[in-house]
């Protein structure tokens, strides 16, 4: 579904990605692991188009989308749950979700998407009228995922959705991601939470200093003590 080859990118003069190769299969969860500063967020941003790829290629269902701007990607069914959530803090929960359904593609499925979001996160329904900025960390994360779902996506790029959450909420977030897969969605997940993410993933990559150091099935990573020791610190 998504194929990234030899992707290079960075900020200003500073190169961060030095040829990232990875592939995401339809209706799977693929996780990218790696230490702080490895370039995980940068990879997602370059795939989505928040920063421009310098070199290499991003393909979506065989189509070259390397230079496609973010709003066109959303139109094609790709969206992102960015690191740090990036909600609209002075808008209500409801308006945040409404903004997720901004494009006509999403507007058509508005009712269904909203029902899915409120079924997954009943708390958001209770807090419909509350400003997003006043939600708790966990609720904000739910809203960020909910807003992404409102775009009616096929592929969601998720950047550390469990970051800063209490253990109980972390578990809930991973369960939700698994449910999304069962709903037929495809997820490219970036995480530092090695065990929880491997538990729900089908494939995993290890990113190290802007390059893929390992890629394969989850079982392969779990069995390889070397990989775990060398790159994941576990």
């Amino acid at each position: 579904m998504l194929k990234v080859s030899k992707l290079e990118s960075g900020y200003g003069e500073m190169q961060v990605l030095w040829g990232v190769d990875l592939e995401v299969k339809e209706k799977s969860i693929t996780t990218v692991l790696g230490p702080n500063g490895a370039g995980k967020s940068t990879t997602l941003k370059a795939i989505f188009g928040i920063i421009s790829p310098w070199n290499g290629m991003v393909e979506y269902f065989g189509e070259d989308v390397t230079k496609t701007p973010p709003h066109k990607k959303v139109e094609m069914g790709i969206t992102m749950v960015p690191e740090g959530r990036h909600l609209f803090p002075n808008m209500t929960v409801e308006d945040n979700l409404l903004m997720g359904a901004y494009l006509s593609r999403a507007e058509e499925k508005f009712e269904d998407s909203l029902e899915l979001v409120y079924t997954l996160f009943p708390r958001l329904k209770e807090r419909e009228e509350q400003k997003a900025g006043t939600l708790s960390g966990g609720e904000q994360q739910m809203l960020a995922i909910g807003r992404a779902l409102m775009t009616s996506p096929n592929l969601i790029l998720m950047d550390e959705p469990s970051q800063g959450l209490a253990p109980k909420l972390v578990k809930e977030v991973f369960e939700t991601i698994y449910k999304l897969k069962e709903e037929g969605l495809t997820i490219l997940l970036v995480e530092q939470n090695v065990f929880s993410s491997l538990d729900i993933s089908d494939y995993a990559y290890v990113l190290h200093e802007g390059k893929i150091a390992f890629g394969g099935s989850v079982d392969e990573i779990k069995e390889s003590e070397d990989i775990k020791k060398a790159y994941l610190g576990v």
């Binding site: 989505f48 928040i50 701007p69 973010p70 709003h71 959303v74 139109e75 969206t79 992102m80 749950v81 960015p82 959530r85 990036h86 909600l87 609209f88 803090p89 002075n90 808008m91 308006d95 409404l98 903004m99 997720g100 901004y102 494009l103 999403a106 807003r147 992404a148 409102m150 775009t151």
Partner: protein, 295 residues
């Protein structure tokens, strides 16, 4: 006698304040959305003033009807300036944007001088007024005030009700968040800049209803200065804050004019500006986010 003069000036201050507010909304909108400070702001007010002048002089079109022309001229100018210059500066250091918008202002002024000459011009649109016990209120000023209120209200409704209006708010609140929703951020920038310039040019039309003989290609500088004070008062980046702050500024300016006139040997006109800017300094000392700004 003094009380009457003060009352009259307070009313004029309020009326003019409404136009000041509108004249600043564009500046604040552009800063709020694009984080670009338009130092050439006043030049667009001047273009609006000349729009009113030429429409009236050449075609006898009353200034209120010229508002439509000003909106179209403003949208077109804003769009062209955005596409040719501003778009390239969005990621540039602040100094580049300041110099560029300053340059745009100078360019517009000099081009206008080339076509329209350096002289002061004016027109007279006499449609009577209302007699109050202490002053005569011309309808032109009431219309200018009313137009400001109507335009600001329409803009408010557009922002809070329409999809595009909400998209602009979303970009202001969080650019990356807007991107993941599928909002075309560059389009929002272009649109906001064009609307900001259209508001500014329109306010230039209304300004001429207060000083119909003060139309000159360099008239903008004074308004740029006032607009910056008002924008800061209103909490930079908030068009609505700017609109309210316009009233405060108008009142301050006209109120102090009367009171200063009472002091023997004082020339009130020059000192008025001093008082307005001192008030600005004081407010900023006490509340650095602007009088109406958030924390």
């Amino acid at each position: 006698m003094i009380a009457e003069q003060l009352a009259a000036n307070i009313i004029y201050g309020l009326l003019l304040g409404g136009v000041y507010g509108l004249a600043t909304m564009g500046l604040s909108l552009i800063f709020g959305v694009l984080r670009v400070v338009n130092v050439g702001h006043g030049a667009f007010i001047m273009v609006g003033a000349f729009t009113a002048f030429w429409m009236f002089t050449l075609y006898s079109i009353p200034p209120l009807a010229s508002i439509v022309v000003a909106v179209i001229v403003g949208l077109a100018m804003g769009f062209v300036v955005f596409m040719t210059i501003i778009r390239r500066l969005l990621d540039a250091p602040e100094l580049s944007t300041l110099l560029a918008t300053f340059g745009i202002g100078v360019f517009i002024e000099e081009l206008s001088k080339f076509f329209w000459g350096p002289d002061y011009v004016g027109y007279s649109w006499d449609i009577g007024g209302i007699s109050l016990p202490f002053t005569e209120l011309p309808f032109t000023k009431l219309y200018a005030f009313g137009s400001s209120i109507v335009i600001a209200a329409l803009l408010y409704v557009w922002f809070s009700r329409t999809k595009l209006g909400k998209a602009i708010r979303a970009v202001v609140e969080d650019k990356e968040g807007a991107m993941v929703c599928g909002i075309n951020v560059n389009m929002v920038y272009a649109l906001s800049f064009a609307i900001g310039i259209a508001l500014t040019v329109t306010s230039g039309v209304l300004v001429t209803l207060f000083t119909p003989v003060g139309i000159n290609v360099y008239m903008g500088g004074d308004y740029t200065l006032k607009a910056f004070v008002i924008a800061v008062l209103g909490g930079l980046g908030s068009p609505w804050g700017a609109f309210y702050a316009g009233f405060i500024f108008g009142l301050l300016e006209n109120g102090s004019y009367t009171l200063l006139g009472l002091i023997p040997g004082v020339e009130p006109f020059g000192l008025t500006r001093f008082v307005s800017f001192t008030a600005l300094l004081l407010i900023l000392l006490l509340k650095p986010t602007g009088l109406l700004g958030g924390e």
